[in-house]
Symmetry: C2
DNA sequence: TTGCAATGTGTAAATAATACGCATTAAAAG
DNA sequence: CTTTTAATGCGTATTATTTACACATTGCAA
C-alpha cells in the first residue's frame, strides 16, 4: 500500500435519485469520549479521503466511490478545489482530525468530485461506519465545510443539467419519460408541462424508445426508453444564448 | 513574508482580446548552461506560483495576476485542479524545477484559474522575464503540462460564454456591438449574422446604449454600449435545453 | 464631391415554446 | 364483470424566437 499525501484529499458528493427526490450519500461522524461516554461529535460528512502517492485525482475519487457505494464505472466529475486557510477551524473538526490515525496537517486542500447514480440500484454495505442517503431538501448538520462543498456541487450539477444530457446518469438504464421529467423538476426546482416535456424529449434522437413497458405499476404502464450517448455525440449542435 | 506550501500551486490562464483575436499571456522559460552557454530550455509557460501558507487559492491567483499584468479587480475563475502523478515528468521540466530557488517536490498539484481582460488595456511590465501575448491560434511550444491546462481553460471559457454574460470582461467598459460580435465569433469559432446578432443584443436590457460614439475610426463611428451586471442579475431567467 | 468602409434598420418564413383537453390503458375496488 | 382510479399518450392553436436576407446611411479620406 502506498503512502498518503497528508495535505491533499478528495471529497465525493454522491448524488442519487429515487424517482422522487434528489439525495446525497453521507457518512456519520461520531466521536465518544472513552472515559465519560459523552458524545463529543455526532454529525455527518461527505465521503472523502487523502490521495495516495501514486494516484491521480480521478483514480482517488473512483476508489472512494467504490468503497462507499460498491459501484464501479459511474459518472464522476471534478467540480471545484477547496483550499481556504480557514477551511478546517471549528473545535469539532480539529478534535476529529486529531483522533484520526493518519494524523493531520492544518492546511488540507480538497478536490471536490460529484457523482451521479441511480440510488435505487445501490445497497449500502459499508460496515464500519453509518452511511445514509439524505434528501437534498432535508440535510442533517454537516461537519467541516462539507455543506459549502455540497452547495457548490449542486450548483454545478444544475448548470450542467441545463446544457448537457447528464440527467440520464441518475436513472436506471431503462426509464420512462415521466421519470425523466420528475428528475428535471426535482433537480432544477421547477414544474414542467407533461405534454410539452414529452414532445421535447421525443424530438431527441438519442432518447430511444424500446418495445417494452414498465412492470409492476398499478396504473397504465409507460413505455421505456434508453439514452444513447453515441447518438448524442453524433447529433449534438452547439448553440449560444447567454440568456436574456 | 510567509512561507510557501511546496506541493500546491496556482496557475493562471490569462486571456485577452484585442478586438480581433483571443490571446493568452505566457512567460518565457529559458535556461542556459553557464559553462557551455548552451541553451538547455527555451519555451513558454503559464503564469503560476506556489501558494503561501496564509493564502486562499483566490488570493494567490489574484496575486499572480497582479504581478503579471499590473491589474487588480479582474475577472478570475477557478476552473480545474490538476494533480496527475505524471504531470511533471519530462527531463526539461525536472531540470527547470531543480534550478528554481524554492526547491521542488515531485508531486505538485496545481489549481487552474482563468482570467479575462481587455488586452488593449495592458502594458506588459514584468522586467525579470520575457512576457508575451500569443494568439490562441498560434501558440509556441509550452512547458510542463501547460498546454493541456490551457485547453481545459478554453473549453470552460467557451462553455461559460454560451450561457453567461462573461464576454464583456474581455472588452473595455465601453464597446460597440460589432466588437462584441467579433468576440463571440472568435471565442466560439463561428460566424454570426450581423443583423440578427444586433437584434439579439438589443433585446438584452443589461446592455445599455450610451449617448456616445466611437472615435478615431475611419468610417461611420458606431454607438457605444456598456454592460450592467446589476441589471443582468435582476432580469435574468434560467432556461433549460440540453440541446437536441 | 465622391468613394469607401463601416454602421443601422425591416420583414417574411421557419422553427421552437407554451397552453391547453380529451381519449386510452391497466390495475384495483366494488 | 363492471366501474373507478390514476396514470399514460396524443393533438392543435397561439405565441415567441430564430433564421435568412437587402438596402439605405454615416463620417472620414482621397
Amino acid at each position: 500500500m502506498s503512502r498518503i499525501i497528508p495535505n491533499i484529499s478528495v471529497d465525493c458528493v454522491i448524488f442519487g435519485f429515487d424517482f422522487n427526490q434528489l439525495n446525497v450519500l453521507l457518512v456519520e461522524r461520531k466521536l465518544i469520549d472513552e472515559k465519560s461516554n459523552k458524545v463529543l461529535i455526532d454529525d455527518w460528512t461527505l465521503t472523502g479521503y487523502h490521495i495516495l502517492e501514486e494516484e491521480d485525482f480521478d483514480t482517488a475519487a473512483a476508489r472512494i466511490l467504490k468503497k462507499m457505494s460498491g459501484l464501479d464505472n459511474i459518472y464522476l466529475e471534478q467540480f471545484y478545489a477547496f483550499g481556504g486557510v480557514k477551511r478546517v477551524n471549528s473545535p469539532k473538526d480539529m478534535l476529529w482530525l486529531q483522533n484520526q490515525s493518519e494524523g493531520f496537517s492544518e492546511r488540507i486542500v480538497t478536490v471536490g468530485y460529484f457523482s451521479l447514480i441511480d440510488n435505487t440500484s445501490v445497497t449500502l454495505s459499508l460496515k464500519e461506519r453509518n452511511v445514509k442517503w439524505f434528501p437534498i431538501s432535508n440535510l442533517p448538520t454537516m461537519g467541516f465545510d462539507h455543506r459549502e462543498i455540497l452547495e457548490k456541487a449542486l450548483e454545478r450539477l444544475r448548470a450542467k443539467l441545463r446544457s448537457e444530457p447528464i440527467g440520464f446518469e441518475l436513472l436506471p438504464e431503462k426509464f420512462t419519460i415521466t421519470q425523466l421529467q420528475r428528475l428535471y423538476e426535482e433537480v432544477l426546482g421547477t414544474t414542467l408541462d407533461r405534454r410539452n416535456f414529452r414532445k421535447k424529449v421525443l424530438q431527441m434522437k438519442y432518447v430511444i424508445p424500446l418495445d417494452e413497458k414498465q412492470k409492476g405499476v398499478k396504473h397504465k404502464p409507460a413505455q421505456l426508453f434508453i439514452f444513447s450517448r453515441e447518438v448524442y455525440e453524433k447529433t449534438k449542435t452547439e448553440r449560444f444564448d447567454f440568456s436574456i
